[in-house]
Symmetry: C2
């Protein structure tokens, strides 16, 4: 069973992401080291003791749809109630609406624990956080006063309604329409698909944020507006009124996250109690500026999906490690250390076999790298927020957060799939049997590289929009920081690092080369040359960054040679992929385009 790695999470937050320094400099608001420890401890307890035990039943029963209603698995409603009672929903919420206003990095860390315990549980509140962010940043005074308190406390949950059958990765194809009404409200009509927690029985009301198009809107993404559409209209006294004209038409039968209802939502088919056709909605932000509103929360939403991959990966690593310590198979011919011959007939725990140790160390290195990248992104978001008014710092941290966001979404979600798959492999035949729980982790993890912008889209975003930030100086400054880590490794003269400094330095050279190559193509307008290698580049970047962060963690713990050994393992075993990825990036579009004929 999942056990939240509280100590490791605290260490990564403080010494890798940079929270320690920020706390010292007073840049984290009310957050002190003691408070941080208390939060992580209590979150760890809740995740391990309360959420994790309900994960299997959530998978087995799943959310059940019947007659427009969705019933959550046994025990989940009560679980959610206990979770909100603990104040967890409002961790980052605005203080004037009952939130604790804590840093996103802390929220990300805690969120890793929810997702490690159950990704199907963890994803729901993430959407509420997004709704809170959107309303806080762009909502009217009226909307804030009616909705924020209850969304921050978790009494109500929020949703994001973007996708339509013909509009997935490309939102410009949206067709859901909104009509103005004289009282300033709108009526929404259309169908949305893949709406996470679009309907359920955890809360009395559900607050949908819906992208739609006004009749006179410009074509494409510049004609999209954002609307708030509650499941139940809210009376002046805050009580629930009539059922709005929005309903769940069906839920998807998915590969995983079975307890997370994925809904098809119908707006405006006349089934509400309002006496008219059309779901009553309120504009959030300005007309035709809906995409901008979405983008303000996109960064944190993408980070939180990355955190899902991370959480599942950590759970899978733990599960495989536990099994490999218990399960005994094989004898001396398979032994890691020929010299440590066991007594005849004695079987050894499979962790002793080199190939199993390799898998486990790969998992650990990937999980730790993914965590470092994700938390660093969260910290950058926080520092940007804290830097308001200090122009240089604001620009630095905003661009750092922007740069890291596609890495923080794509890499941990790829790692989630990779590590969950390795977890099955370590278990052998038992991994394929559902009762073991390893299969669930892979089934759950497989969605994360897809939603909230596929990882292919993240790679495009990284290359085409993030590299050019400040004309390439943003990425260059970041690589400088990674190189400083490599230099510090070299300067440490610590034997446990092995050849980490050399290998990391070499890989960072490749990162610099490929970055320059891509920027050159972008500047010359050869977008397709740059994009052909975008996915390879994102992974290359992530491996370099992740390994540098492992080294940084080891440098921060001079006595913990196991940290240096992990950085070294990654440098020896995973970082060599960087040179291969460099070749892929630089192969460009020509070999890819030439090969298209092979697809005919």
């Amino acid at each position: 069973m999942y056990k939240a790695p509280v100590t490791e999470i605290g260490f990564a937050l403080r010494h890798v992401a940079g929270l320690e320094a920020a706390m010292v400099e007073g840049l984290t608001g009310d957050l002190t080291p003691d408070l941080l420890d208390a939060i992580l401890d209590e979150a760890g307890r809740f995740a391990s003791d309360e959420i994790a035990p309900l994960a299997a039943i959530g998978d087995r029963e799943g959310a059940v749809f019947r007659d427009g209603a969705v019933t959550m698995p046994l025990g989940w409603k009560d679980l959610y109630a206990r979770w909100t009672a603990g104040g967890w929903n409002g961790l980052t919420g605005p203080a004037d609406h009952g939130g604790q206003g804590l840093p996103t990095a802390v929220s990300a860390a805690v969120c890793e624990m929810w997702n490690g315990a159950s990704m199907a549980f963890g994803i729901g509140p993430t959407l509420t956080i997004g709704a809170v962010d959107a309303i806080e940043a762009h909502g009217s005074v009226h909307l804030k006063s009616v909705y924020l308190d209850k969304l921050v406390s978790g009494e109500w949950m929020g949703t994001m309604n973007l996708t339509e059958p013909q509009a997935g990765s490309d939102l410009s194809a949206l067709r859901t329409r909104a009509e103005r009404r004289d009282d300033g409200t709108y009526r929404i009509f259309g169908q949305k698909i893949y709406i996470t927690y679009g309907e359920h029985d955890l809360t009395d009301n559900i607050v949908h944020l819906v992208l739609a198009r006004l009749p006179d809107a410009p074509a494409g993404v510049k004609g999209i507006s954002l609307f708030l559409v509650p499941k139940f209209l809210v009376e002046g006294d805050g009580s629930l009124g009539l059922r709005n004209d929005v309903k769940c038409h069906a839920i998807e039968h998915k590969m995983g996250i079975h307890a997370s209802p994925t809904c098809t939502m119908i707006y405006g088919d006349g089934t509400g109690e309002t006496g008219e056709v059309g779901a009553v909605g309120w504009l959030v932000g300005e007309e035709n500026r809906g995409l901008a509103c979405m983008f303000t929360m996109m960064n944190s939403a993408r980070l939180y999906v990355g955190i899902q991959g991370l959480g599942v990966a950590e759970a899978a690593f733990q599960k495989a490690l536990d099994y490999a310590r218990e399960r005994r198979q094989g004898r001396s011919t398979l032994l890691a250390k020929d010299r440590r011959e066991p007594a005849s007939g004695e079987m050894v725990p499979i962790i002793e076999h080199p190939d199993v140790a390799r898998m486990l160390l790969t998992m650990k290195a990937l999980v730790s790298s993914a965590r470092a990248i994700a938390y660093s992104c969260g910290h950058a978001l926080d520092q940007a927020k804290a830097a308001r008014g200090r122009e240089e710092a604001l620009r630095h941290w905003s661009e750092r957060a922007n740069l890291l966001t596609p890495l923080a979404k794509a890499f941990p979600t790829d790692v989630g799939v990779e590590v969950a798959s390795l977890c099955i492999q370590v278990h052998g035949g038992m991994g394929y049997v559902e009762e073991t729980g390893a299969a669930r982790l892979l089934r759950d993890a497989r969605i994360a590289p897809i939603y909230e912008g596929t990882n292919g889209i993240q790679a495009i975003d990284l290359v085409s929009r993030k590299l050019p930030l400040s004309d390439g100086r943003t990425v260059a400054a970041y690589i400088d920081e990674l190189e400083a880590i490599a230099e510090a490794v070299r300067g440490s003269n610590r034997p446990a690092f092995g050849e980490t400094a050399d290998r990391l330095g070499e890989a960072l050279g490749d990162l610099r080369d490929t970055t320059a190559y891509l920027l050159e193509h972008l500047r010359a307008g050869r977008l397709s040359e740059a994009l052909a290698g975008a996915t390879a580049y994102l992974r290359l970047f992530s491996l370099c960054s992740g390994n540098a962060y492992l080294a940084k963690a080891a440098l921060a713990a001079p006595d913990a040679d196991e940290r240096a050994a992990l950085a070294r393992f990654m440098a020896d075993h995973l970082l060599p992929e960087v040179a291969a990825l460099k070749r892929q990036v630089m192969a460009g579009a020509s070999s890819l385009d030439a090969a298209r004929a092979a697809l005919n």
Copy 2:
């Protein structure tokens, strides 16, 4: 829906695996080009039109266990009857028992189609083939006369009973016991797990081959014997008699291949109709030589599991390609060719996007490589069989088959998982919805790297047992052949090959270096140094071999530049991984052992 790639399969058999030359030289028995075409066409029709339509229901309903009996999904019993009526079960079976005695390579090709249509269907007959092989090679005259005709026709099916709870990868821990009886029969007692098609309603009788230990047997694998245990005893006239004391206790609830019942079998708990306790069994081969009997069929069994991965990978590639041609999303900013700007507002098929094309080409290159390796292994098995009496040829082809077997099992099954996962990614959100069918392919594929010897075990086998064959000359001769292909690519001066010759030559140099490195450690008795990099070496070997085979295919089709372009794509995009894998192999055990501390 899966459509068997008959033309491509025929091409790979003839021009890559080497069947064309063997047919010309008269080394393929009755098999002529016309007969081969007819077999592949008809198998393709059966797989595409009859099996594929029942795959989804097989997954949804699954095999159902109740009161010791297993009911197969709707339509499956009839499907199996039509399949055996078509003579498909006896393709490689001995002619004197009604089989067609065709080459294993042809059987492998046809088997790819069954598995492409439905892996849960394809796996069943594979086990019957194994049973036929074991009985033909080691069974008594009595066993052959009673069982072979019906196993060859498919009237009865066979099973393999190896695994026990405490004995998975390590068979030396077997506890199932066998007792001698005065009439020359045995009584079997014990529990076996993960028995594929251990119980079902497709056939009237099921013939179990069971590994067990005699009371006076030596410890370890040298004390294991093989027994034939029928579900129903067979009367003198061939009719079915009393129910034997063997039963299915339960079936596993698995991640995939739901229609393939995975059974826990109980032998000898007194529930048969024989009036005594103990399942009646007959010895196959000699006492305590059971593992040798298993090994005679192990090669083809491992190949057939590789074929499962291949079949699923092909199905996943086709599914993704179809979707990428139909689904339209995105516009010019994402376009593969900047210059081909579509009219404003027009969305392009996603195959136009570079990252999607990259995924599809990766899938195609991996599938084609895996096919080439698997068929080449099958062909080597056939040539070894055909070479009986010609000592040099026999040794050459036997060792070639032995060398290729771990590659043919591990690489295609890894590719199955990789390609099925990419198939989901290409589909976006729709890939995660079960009705689409993409998720099933990944769920099905995930077992293949595990059973019939995990891929980690395959890597150990490759390094520790196959490389030393003929003191390293076997592997050296094989690499020579691959290098001859690289040289032929260079000599062809075909522009479509791009830099394939250089890149392949470089990778083959790495293959030679790592092979020498591993052999050196083996000769010096440093087994753990060699095994630490075994998995990386297996993949390195497979990528080199696969890319060389793609080039060989292109050389055999001088006018088909799309084949050369695919070889080039692989050389540019996938082969660079070889240099990274070389580093992993050569990192050896030290960095891995040092990092073990990070697992504490």
